[in-house]
Symmetry: C2
Subunit: 582 residues, 2 copies
C-alpha cells in the first residue's frame, strides 16, 4: 500500500522540542516519530511505530533462529513471586506498585525472571524436557528517577527478554554463546556501531556477564577500552592487573615515625620528603585506609569494613558498591568513630583494624612484598616500610579504586581509554538464583532432582529506535539504515504539472506492486518544504520526480551520501528494486 | 520453520482446570495455549501467541484497508486528561490507579479517547487535515469486579481501538459505515457466527451505536432478535413499538372508586373484577407508577422521577439506568416518602405527581387515548378510565419496562426471542463529547473554528481467541478456522520405524519450503497420545504418516468433519498446499 503524505498522520516541526537533550530525541520528535505523553512515556506515531515494528521483526527473527520460543506474560503482575525472590522490596522506588479493587498488591513488570521460572516449573518436569529458551517482546515499566533523552530512557518501554534453562553449566555456556552470537548478528544487521563490554551483573545476581553498548557520545554508560586490543569493559567490571609479588626476605624493618600534622596524603608526603629519609616518596607509596560500614540485605547490624588502596587513587563508589553487592554501603559518621576509639582519624593503619577484627580488603596492587607508608594508629604517627605479607595480610582484595585513562589494560595489551555508550543488550549467566528461589528442578535419569541453571538476555527494543537515530543522522535529519527505515523509497513530487504527478503515481504504483514500501509526497507544498521533510524523515532513498520527467529522467538521491543520480524513467523501478534489495 | 513437538514449549493437560467455567477456557488451558498468572491475567504460551498474532494481523489488515493509521499510546497514563473528562472518577473501581515515585497520579488505560483527541489536536489544525482515522492494537487494563471465563473477560487484554475524526455529521456517518463494513469483513474472515445488535452507548456518551455479538450460549450479554427478520438488539437498546393513538372524543369519564385493601396490582384487579363494572380487567389495564430519584453527575440534590408503565410489566433496572444515563438512579426510602406526603404508597397516581412538579415519564405504550386504572392519590382509592392525553400528559417517554420473549419486534416483523452472545466489537458515533472537553477544532475555510465530531470503534482482540475456541470445538478439543490456526498442518509420526520418521520429515520439509506452517509430532510417544494431542490442539488438517507409507500412502484427516482420506505420498504436498490455500 502506498502511503501518501497528504493523508498521513504526520506533522514535522521546524523547531526543536524544548526538553530535548540529545540529537535522536530532537529529531524523532521533529520528524513526527514520537510524542511525549508523560515523563518517560511516549506515543508512537505512524512512522515511529513502523520503525519499532521492523526492529521487533529483526529481533524475533534472530531469536527464532537460535530456537528460542516466543511467549508473552502480563505486565500487571501479582506481588507474591516478587516477594519470594525479595525483589518486591529490593527494587525500591523503581518499581511501579498498585493495588486492585480488593486491595491485593500488584506491580508493573520491570523484568520477568520470576514468571519465566515459574512457568517453566509449571510445564516441565523431566531432564528430557531441557534445554529450553523462551523469550518475549513486551512492554516493561520502571519508575526511573530521571527519565531522559526521549525514548532512550523511558519509564514504559519495549524489551526483548529471554531466558535459557539448562541442566548444567556447560549447557548454560552453550545457551549464553548462542545468544551472544545472535545479538552480534542482530546488531550487525541493524548496522549499529557497538562494543561488547565485560559487565557486572547488577541487582540480577549471577556470574558471566557482558553488555552490548552502542557507541554514542551522548551515552549514559561509561566504559573503558584498550588502545591496542579489543578489550572493553564497564568501569565497574575492570579487573585491576596485580603486579608480581616481591621478595620479603632482607627487606627493611617497618619503622614508626613521628609525623606531626600530617592527616592528609599530601601533608604526609611533603613531611617525609623533607625528613631526609634518603629516598623520594609519592602518594603512590602511601596506603590509604578508607573506613566504611556495610549491611547485608535483611540484616539489622552494620559491619565495619576497611578498604585499603594506594594513596594516589580515589575510591570509585560505583566500583566499590558493585564489588560489595548485594550489601548496602555507607560512610562512617561521628557516632561510629566515637564507638570505635581504636580508629584514629587520619592515622588509621592495618594493625589496629586487624587487632579489632575489622574486615580489611585491599586493592589488588597491594601484593605480598609491597612496602607502604600508612597510619600508625596514633595521632601524628605513621609507619614506613610496612610490608604486605609480612607486617599485615589483607582479608581479601577488592575492586574499589578508580580506573584512570592510561592504566594498563587488564589483558596486558595497551592502556585504557574512556568512552561512552548506550546499553542496547545485556547477556549474563544468571545461574541458579531464581531456580533456587522457586525450586526449579528436573527429574534426572536416575530419578534425582537436577537444579536448573538459567541465563538471562535482554535487548532494549524501543531504545534501539533512539540509538539508531543517534548513530544515523546529520544536520538535516535522520538517515535510517535500510533494514529499519519506515519506508524503502520516499518519492517527492517536485512540480505542479499534472504530468509530473501522474508520472510519480505510476512509478509509485509499480514499486508498490514490486513489494517496495513507498511514501509519496503528494502535498500541495513547495519542493523546498518537501525536500526538507524528506531529509528530516530519513528514508535512505529519495526519488525526485520533477521537470526532468519531460525529458524522460528522474533523480535518485542517496540520503546518506547526498549523491544524486539521473535515471531514465523507464529504468527507475528496476534500479530502485535492485537498490532496496541489495 | 518446522515446529517440532519434541522441543516445543507445550504440555497438554488431561484434566480440566478447576476454575474453568466455559469450554474455551477449559480447552485453551488443556491444550497449552494460555496459563493463568493472576485473576484475569494470563500468559500466552507459544501456541496461544501464534493465534493471537494471526488475529491481530487480520484486524490490522482490515483497518489499513479503510485507511486507518496505526499508532500506539502508552498504557501508563497521567491522570490529568482523564480528570478533564471526568472519567478519572466516573470509572470508579474499574480503573487501575497508581502513583509514581514523586507521588503523581497515573492510571492504566482502560480506553484511550482522551489521548486520541489530544494527539489529533496536537498535530492537526486545518479543515484540510481532516478526516483522519487512527487506531492502535494495545494492551488495556480494567479492574473487573468479576474476571471470568479465562481470556473472555480478563483484567489485562488486547484491544484494537480506533477513532475517526470528521468535520461534520455526514463525515462521521461515512466513517461509521466504513468501520461497520470493515468489522463485518473481519469477523467473516475469522469465520465467526455473530449478530449486529443495536446498542446503547454506555458510559461513553454519544448516539448511534451497534455491537457485534458472537453467538454463544455461554455469553454474558443477553440480546433479543426477531423470529422473522434480521432485527437484533441489546435488551437495553430495544425500542418499544408504540401502539397507535386512540380517539379521545366520546370516551367515558374517569371515575374514582373506593377500592379497599388493594395496594398491589393483583389485589386491585381481583377487586375490580369482583365489583361488577361490566368488563374484565387484567394487570395490563392498570398503570403502575414507580417512584425513583435521580441525580445528575456532579449534582448534590436528588430529583424525584416517576416511571409509569403497564401493570403487567416489571421495571428492568438495566434498561431504566441506560435510559437515564449519565444520571444516577435510586429507589425512594422512607425519609423520601415522609418528606413528600402527597405520595400515597400503593395509591400513587399521575395527578398528585404532576400537581407537585414530579417529572412523569411513561412507557411508550401509554399513548394518547389509552385508558388506565391507577392510584387516586388517596388510600384505598383508584381511578378507572383515566385517559392519557386527556386526564394526564406524561413529561416524556422512557424505555424502562422489561422486554419479554414474544413481544412484537420493533421493526414490525415477527416477535422477539432472547439469545446470548459475547461482545466482540462495538462501533458508535461518539459525537463531540471529547472534542468539547479538549476544544478540538479545525480552522475552517472561512477561518472559523469547526468542532470535530468523533466515532469510536473497538474489537476485543485477545477475547477473540476465546470466542473462536468457544464457537469451534468438540468433545476432543479445539477446531481452529484456517485463518487463525497456530499451524496449517499437524503431522503425526505414527510408528517407530525409521523410514516412517524419515518420510514424515521429508514431507514436513517440502511443506515448509512451500510456505506451509507445519507442526511435526516427533515425540517418542504412542500414536494414541499423539492423536489425542492433535485433536486437542485443533490444527484443521492432520497428516498421519504411519504404516501405510510402505505402500506409498499417508492419511489426511479433517479435524472438523473427522473425514480421513488416503493420499499417495508423492501427491500429498501438492494436495495439502491446495487445501491450505483454498
Amino acid at each position: 500500500m502506498i502511503t501518501r503524505t497528504s493523508s498521513l498522520f504526520l506533522r514535522t516541526l521546524r523547531e526543536d522540542p524544548a526538553d530535548a537533550e540529545v540529537p535522536s530525541h530532537r529529531l524523532l520528535v521533529r520528524a513526527g516519530y514520537v510524542r511525549r505523553v508523560a515523563p518517560g512515556g511516549y506515543s508512537w506515531l505512524p512512522l515511529g511505530l513502523r520503525v519499532l515494528r521492523r526492529i521487533e521483526a529483526v529481533v524475533r527473527d534472530e531469536m527464532n533462529a537460535i530456537g528460542a520460543q516466543e511467549i508473552q506474560f502480563p505486565a500487571l503482575l501479582p506481588k507474591e513471586p516478587y516477594e519470594a525472590t525479595g525483589r518486591w522490596t529490593e527494587y525500591g522506588d523503581s518499581l511501579f506498585r498498585l493495588k486492585d479493587r480488593k486491595g491485593a498488591d500488584y506491580l508493573l513488570g520491570p523484568t520477568h525472571e520470576e514468571l519465566f521460572t515459574l512457568t517453566v516449573k509449571g510445564e516441565f518436569s523431566s531432564y528430557r524436557d531441557y534445554p529450553v529458551t523462551l523469550y518475549q517482546i513486551q512492554t516493561k515499566y520502571r519508575d526511573e528517577a530521571r527519565p531522559r533523552a526521549g525514548i532512550l530512557r523511558g519509564r514504559e518501554f519495549v524489551m526483548k527478554d529471554s531466558y535459557s534453562f539448562d541442566l548444567d553449566d556447560e549447557g548454560l555456556e552453550r545457551s549464553y554463546q548462542a545468544h551472544r552470537a545472535a545479538y552480534t548478528k542482530l546488531f550487525d544487521r541493524l548496522g549499529l556501531e557497538y562494543v561488547v563490554v565485560k559487565a557486572t551483573s547488577g541487582a540480577m545476581g549471577g556470574s558471566a556477564s557482558e553488555e552490548f553498548l552502542a557507541v554514542a557520545e551522548t551515552g549514559e554508560d561509561t566504559y573503558v577500552r584498550s588502545t591496542e586490543s579489543g578489550y572493553a569493559a564497564n568501569v565497574e567490571a575492570v579487573v585491576t592487573p596485580a603486579p608480581p609479588a616481591q621478595p620479603i626476605e632482607g627487606r627493611p624493618e617497618a619503622q614508626v615515625h613521628h609525623t606531626p600534622n600530617t592527616p592528609t596524603i599530601e601533608t604526609l608526603v611533603n613531611f617525609l620528603n623533607a625528613a631526609g629519609l634518603g629516598r623520594e616518596f609519592t602518594a603512590a607509596d602511601t596506603l590509604k585506609n578508607v573506613m566504611l560500614k556495610t549491611r547485608q540485605p535483611g540484616a539489622k547490624e552494620w559491619e565495619l569494613v576497611c578498604v585499603a588502596l594506594p594513596g594516589d587513587r580515589e575510591v570509585d563508589m560505583k566500583r566499590l558498591e558493585a564489588s560489595l553487592e548485594p550489601a548496602e554501603v555507607a560512610l562512617l559518621d561521628e557516632a561510629d568513630f566515637a564507638k570505635n576509639p581504636f580508629l584514629v582519624k587520619g592515622y588509621i593503619g592495618p594493625k589496629a583494624l586487624q587487632d579489632n577484627g575489622v574486615r580489611y580488603l585491599a586493592d589488588p596492587r597491594i601484593v605480598p612484598g609491597t612496602a607502604w607508608v600508612t597510619g600508625a594508629d596514633k595521632v601524628d604517627h605513621h609507619v614506613v616500610d610496612l610490608l604486605a605479607g609480612r607486617d599485615f595480610t589483607p582479608d581479601g582484595t577488592i575492586e574499589a579504586a578508580e580506573v584512570r585513562e592510561g592504566d594498563a589494560s587488564p589483558d596486558g595489551q595497551g592502556t585504557l581509554v574512556a568512552a561512552r555508550g548506550i546499553e542496547i543488550g545485556h547477556i549474563f549467566q544468571l545461574g541458579r538464583k531464581y531456580a533456587d528461589a522457586f525450586e526449579l528442578d528436573a527429574l534426572g535419569p536416575d530419578s534425582k532432582p537436577i537444579r536448573i541453571t538459567m541465563g538471562s538476555y535482554g535487548v532494549g527494543v524501543s531504545r534501539l529506535v533512539g540509538v539508531l537515530a543517534e548513530q544515523n543522522h546529520d544536520d538535516l535529519g535522520i538517515i535510517w539504515p535500510r533494514e529499519v527505515s519506515p519506508f524503502d523509497v520516499h518519492i517527492v513530487i517536485a512540480g505542479k504539472d499534472e504530468a509530473v504527478a501522474a508520472g510519480a503515481e505510476k512509478i509509485a504504483a509499480e514499486l508498490d506492486a514490486a513489494g517496495i514500501e513507498v511514501i509519496l509526497d503528494d502535498r500541495k507544498a513547495t519542493p523546498g518544504v518537501k525536500f526538507a521533510d524528506a531529509e528530516l524523515v530519513g528514508v535512505p532513498t529519495i526519488l525526485v520526480v520533477g521537470r526532468g520527467l519531460a525529458n524522460g529522467v528522474v533523480e535518485v538521491k542517496d540520503r546518506r551520501t547526498g549523491e544524486r543520480e539521473e535515471i531514465a524513467v523507464d529504468a527507475v523501478v528496476e534500479h530502485l528494486v535492485k537498490l532496496v534489495r541489495s
